[in-house]
Amino acid sequence: MVTTAAQTAKPATVVKPRRKPRIQNGYAWLLLTPGLLSVLLLAVWPMVLVGRNSFATSDQYGAVTGGFTFESYLALFDPVYAKTMGYSLGIAAINTVLCLIIGYIVSNYIVAQSPQRQSLLLLLLIVPFWTDFLVRTFAWITLLGNGGPILWFAHLLGIPLDPLVPSQTAVMLALIYAFLPTAVFPIYASMRGIDPSLKEAATDLGCGWWQTHARVIAPLSTPGIIGAALLTFVPTLGVFVIPVLLGGGKELLVGNLIVTLYTEFRNQPMGAALSMVLLVLMLLSIAIGALLLKARKRSA
């Protein structure tokens, strides 16, 4: 039986005996009110405002003055912004692909272990995953910076290496480090549901390692892989701490632009437009993920 993550999210309705609810559904509404109010006031309504502001005009100080214009969106095509957008998409794509590949390899290894070892390995993944994001970022300054262990080691070997902070290498390493644990869990959850005998059957039927994975294991892990991609791609675009601390603030991500537009330039409409672009990208990737899952189910 293949228990995939997507299937498990369905609530248990099968085993519940048919019984009239003792308490009226009015109670359910009462219980839901605080949660729904929070989401409405702190997520939905704020997003509506941002959407509205992205079409608004602004005065010379960047304050929203109403009206309706596509100017803010068009301004995003300005070479300065377009360059950051292109760079961010590239970095996010590289980060996602690397996290998916490493996540796949690690998950594939873990599911083959005994339950005790699986627990231990998961614990080893959970600790860095739950460690403070800033700590995980500045650790790389110590590691790669001037006088850090990496440089010391390189000099020991006689390799003349300049301090890696700030550099693009440092940014990339920190991004992978930040997102890898996040990417492993969904893939592992999907893979754990795969019947191990399927792998054996594939091997018995003459599939090599590559074929076993390309035809059996990877397709069955699709929900997890898609989940991992969703948790990595667009969130990478929104990162702003890593480029500042490890990249010297030279090559920026979309997240940096949004922060700058809101807190320094005070150009709300443009900041709002850029935020909407991120939101739309997220929704698009969810839609693509859902379509891929659907296509997979149909072909299965």
Binding site: S38, A43, V50, I105, T142, P186, V244
Partner: protein
């Protein structure tokens, strides 16, 4: 090939721990600059506890974290109770609504909150920080509580009601004792979510209510100091304590779903984990 990939996995684990170990080791470095090593010392820990401005931000972060986590746990519990105990029209829709903040990129949610607080004239400060952290933590606590409540025998609270318990008594005598560990997990995990949050805080903190991560971030912009490493080492310790308090079993269920062997063979799988919610959306 599998052997080779086993080695790759081990290398990845080393990659995951080298930075953590480096922070801890360098926090004991006696040298005032991180770029040279001058022997072991606890000096930076002592300095940490004498850093007034930093301690002030720690206080802010603690207050915000406790309130945000408390609210998120309470609201998450109520929402989860409604979503697991009652069958009503649009239930799936409401589940989607509660976990909606998960799909909004955090930075977008941050600017959206700034916009709404700005336009409604709410002064940025502890309250706006709490509200911002609450909305990020709410999907997490709701899903943790749903996982716990849906594995609960529904006849237990019903029996309590039949025996004349008021809803409050049903909660204190039946539901709370039975879901205590999930409540603790919700509280601790949403506390750490708030305590380490930097994205939402960037947009929702006001003058005088700088949180600790914001303070660390601005300190880091001028360069890393051994003092920050000492703080980092303490935060890593805090992470270990929290994971230990929540329990590995619980942590696993939240992150990757329930154990196969926990599920009755014919029952519909009842797992709700963070990642399933994300893949579902």
């Amino acid at each position: 090939m599998d052997r080779f990939l086993g080695w790759v996995t081990k290398l990845v684990l080393v990659f995951l721990y080298v930075p953590i170990v480096a922070v801890v080791v360098y926090s004991f470095n006696a040298s005032p600059r991180t770029s040279s090593w001058e022997g072991l010392s606890l000096r930076w820990y002592v300095e940490l506890f004498g850093d007034g401005p930093l301690l002030k931000t720690l206080q802010t972060s603690l207050i915000v974290g406790i309130f945000a986590a408390g609210l998120a746990t309470a609201i998450g519990f109520l929402s989860a109770l409604a979503l697991t105990r009652y069958r009503f029209k649009g239930r799936a829709f409401f589940l989607g609504a509660i976990v909606l903040p998960l799909i909004i990129p955090e930075i977008v949610l941050g600017v959206a909150l700034l916009t709404v607080f700005g336009s409604s004239g709410i002064k940025l400060g502890v309250v706006t920080l709490v509200l911002g952290h609450l909305i990020v933590a709410l999907p997490l606590t709701t899903l943790i509580m749903m996982g716990s409540l849906s594995s609960l025998d529904p006849s237990l609270p019903e029996a309590a009601t039949d025996l004349g318990c008021t809803p409050w008594q049903t909660f204190t005598r039946v539901l709370f004792p039975l879901t205590r560990s999930a409540m603790l997990a919700s509280f601790l995990l949403s506390f750490t979510t708030s305590f380490s949050n930097i994205v939402i805080s960037t947009f929702t903190s006001g003058v005088g209510t700088t949180t600790m991560p914001l303070r660390i971030y601005s300190m880091l912009k001028t360069g890393i100091t051994p003092e920050i490493n000492a703080l980092g080492a303490l935060l890593i310790l805090l992470t270990l304590v929290i994971i230990f308090a929540v329990g590995l079993q619980q942590m696993r269920r939240i992150l990757v779903g329930a154990e196969e062997k926990d599920q009755a063979p014919d029952a519909a799988p009842d797992t709700i984990s963070l990642q399933t919610a994300t893949t579902e959306r």
